[in-house]
């Protein structure tokens, strides 16, 4: 009987899950393995990848200029994540505790800006902050400043752009955990004499820490690859690992080196995801 059941279930299981399994194998697993292989390949004088084993790409990763950029990428990703947490936590707490009919609208207002293309929104920041931009022109008209402030093309503006792009990825998981937070617990805590900050640190924060973890993963990892943000707002002064990879695949044309650089990003991703799982993080919370 069970054997019969098993057999009769095999066909539908294969039919239903087969297409996705094939798709993911062919367009996710194989390409990533191919990148790994390519990172050990040489290139000929015409910059074609040839299948001859070499470690030269990995040696080139230790170029001091590159190492400086890895450090800068990690710093920018770290600052972006930290600012996102500090900015999003109180914000999400407030909107998740408003009345339910207003809550949906407040929540949608976080999402709506993201229906406009991210590139053009980043360019919007540039229009606003540039030396002939709107902020500087207004301040000069008001005679608050004599000459335009130099706001663009530094680490700060790159972080600003990253925070801007990734802010909702912090809000969404936080919203999910904070909305579920049982109000009775807070009331119980205050009934038992706990002050506001005690309730926060002993009850609210521990119960929402999983949201902070998921949000941090969703913010930190993409930051390393968002090359267009540092291109537009950093103006080439704040390169990320993403910029290095982009250059090798578009203009630099050394795909093997680009592949080796990508392996760094893959390793960082694996490391952080493992860490996340070790801290009890649920992978399904990363799906948004």
């Amino acid at each position: 009987m069970t054997k019969h059941n098993l057999k009769s279930n095999t066909v539908p299981a294969v039919v239903m899950v087969g297409p996705v399994a094939l798709w993911l194998s062919f367009f996710v697993a194989i390409p990533l393995l191919y990148v790994l292989v390519m990172s050990f390949c040489s290139i000929d004088e015409h910059y074609n990848v040839i299948f001859k084993f070499t470690l030269v790409n990995y040696q080139r990763l230790f170029n001091p200029n590159y190492v400086q950029i890895y450090g800068q990428s990690i710093l920018i990703a770290f600052l972006t994540t930290l600012i996102c947490i500090l900015l999003a936590y109180p914000f999400t707490m407030f909107i998740s505790r408003t009345l339910s009919n207003k809550k949906t609208i407040l929540y949608m207002l976080v999402i709506i800006p993201f229906w406009t293309n991210s590139l053009i929104r980043i360019y919007g920041w540039k229009t606003f902050l540039g030396s002939t931009g709107w902020l500087n022109t207004t301040l000069m008209h008001l005679h608050l400043i004599d000459k335009p402030l130099d706001l663009l093309y530094n680490r700060g503006t790159t972080v600003l752009g990253m925070v801007y792009c990734l802010f909702p990825f912090m809000v969404l998981p936080l919203y999910t955990v904070l909305e579920k937070l049982d109000q009775n617990l807070l009331e119980a805590s205050s009934d038992l004499g706990a002050k506001g900050h005690t309730t926060f640190f002993k009850i609210v924060l521990p119960l929402s820490v999983s949201g902070i973890f998921s949000g941090s993963i969703m913010v930190f990892i993409p930051t390393l690859g968002y090359f267009f943000v540092s291109d537009i707002l950093g103006g080439g002064n704040t390169d990320l690992i993403g910029n290095l990879i982009e250059r090798q695949f578009q203009s630099g044309n050394n795909w093997s080196l680009g592949a080796a650089l990508s392996i760094i990003l893959i390793l960082i991703t694996l490391l952080l995801v493992k860490l996340y799982q070790k801290c009890g993080g649920d992978m399904d919370n990363l799906g948004v």
Partner: protein, 272 residues
């Protein structure tokens, strides 16, 4: 009295704080919309020279820009439909059946979600080059399906966690076969999850910059057209198109959201 003042102060500071965050989120949008009415004609179109509707007229003469927008929509529609089909049956299959390799498929599903987009982009580029898939609409559709299928599956999976298997059994007991049961019972119950997943896939597709940037060949989607123009200064007709897209998506999503909500309500009403 003092306590009441304190509470009022806390409330006001909360409102101010949230308003500042919304200001931060909407500031570039305001700049984009305002600049679409900017009468300036000199590059890089940054200074305000007065109000005009002219760019909306010029937009409809800019065939390259309109073409890129059409390409974006074509790719988004095709990839959303395919990703939703493959994703839906896979989500149901993975929920209903136990089989070897399920964990592997799960792991593969998480990769496009967590890995930096640039890695997925260059890995697809190397594959397309290796197996000679021409770069263009086809490669873009493949790439977009690849990054949106996991989101479709996760959306439906969230819906399935409260799914009652017995209604399917009832349907089969009453003589319906698997396929009939799938279309008449499973699909309608999952409809909100499927719609949510499809909407997400569509949004991800029209907004995608990084993965398209590596897999497009000569084909230009709207975001790539924007990227191309950024170096010389984005001309306000791009802002005009962005403004129209924003208004359009807002209307569509508000309508579809209210549609989903009303469907939820009728289902709840039926259950009660």
């Amino acid at each position: 009295m003092k306590r009441r003042n304190k509470i009022a102060l806390a409330k006001i500071s909360k409102i101010i704080y949230c308003s500042l965050v919304y200001l931060f989120l909407f500031l570039p949008i305001v700049v984009i919309v305002a600049n679409s009415f900017n009468a300036t004609t000199s590059k890089p179109y940054l200074t305000w020279k007065g109000f005009t509707f002219a760019w909306y007229g010029k937009l409809f003469q800019n065939t390259a820009l309109l073409d890129s927008f059409r390409t974006t929509i074509i790719i988004a529609v095709i990839s959303t439909i395919l990703a939703t089909c493959i994703g839906t049956i896979a989500a149901v299959g993975m929920y209903k059946y136990k089989f070897k390799g399920k964990n592997t498929i799960d792991a593969l599903l998480y990769i496009p979600v967590v890995i930096p987009e640039i890695v997925l982009g260059i890995s697809l580029l190397t594959l397309f080059t290796k197996v000679n898939i021409p770069r263009g609409i086809l490669s873009l559709v493949i790439a977009h399906i690849t990054f949106s299928v996991p989101y479709v599956i996760f959306n439906i999976r969230a819906r399935l966690s409260g799914y009652d298997n017995s209604i399917e059994e009832a349907s089969m007991d009453l003589g319906a076969n698997r396929i009939k049961t799938f279309f008449n019972i499973t699909l309608p119950v999952l409809a909100p999850g499927i719609a949510g997943g499809a909407l997400l896939a569509f949004t991800l597709s029209i907004d995608d910059v990084i993965i398209s940037y590596f897999t497009n060949g000569q084909t230009k989607t709207f975001p790539l057209k924007v990227m191309e123009s950024i170096k010389s200064g984005v001309s306000p007709d791009v802002n005009a198109l962005s403004t129209l897209i924003l208004v359009g998506t807002t209307i569509i999503v508000v309508l579809s959201q209210s549609g989903i909500f009303s469907k939820n309500k009728t289902q709840k009403a039926i259950k009660n």
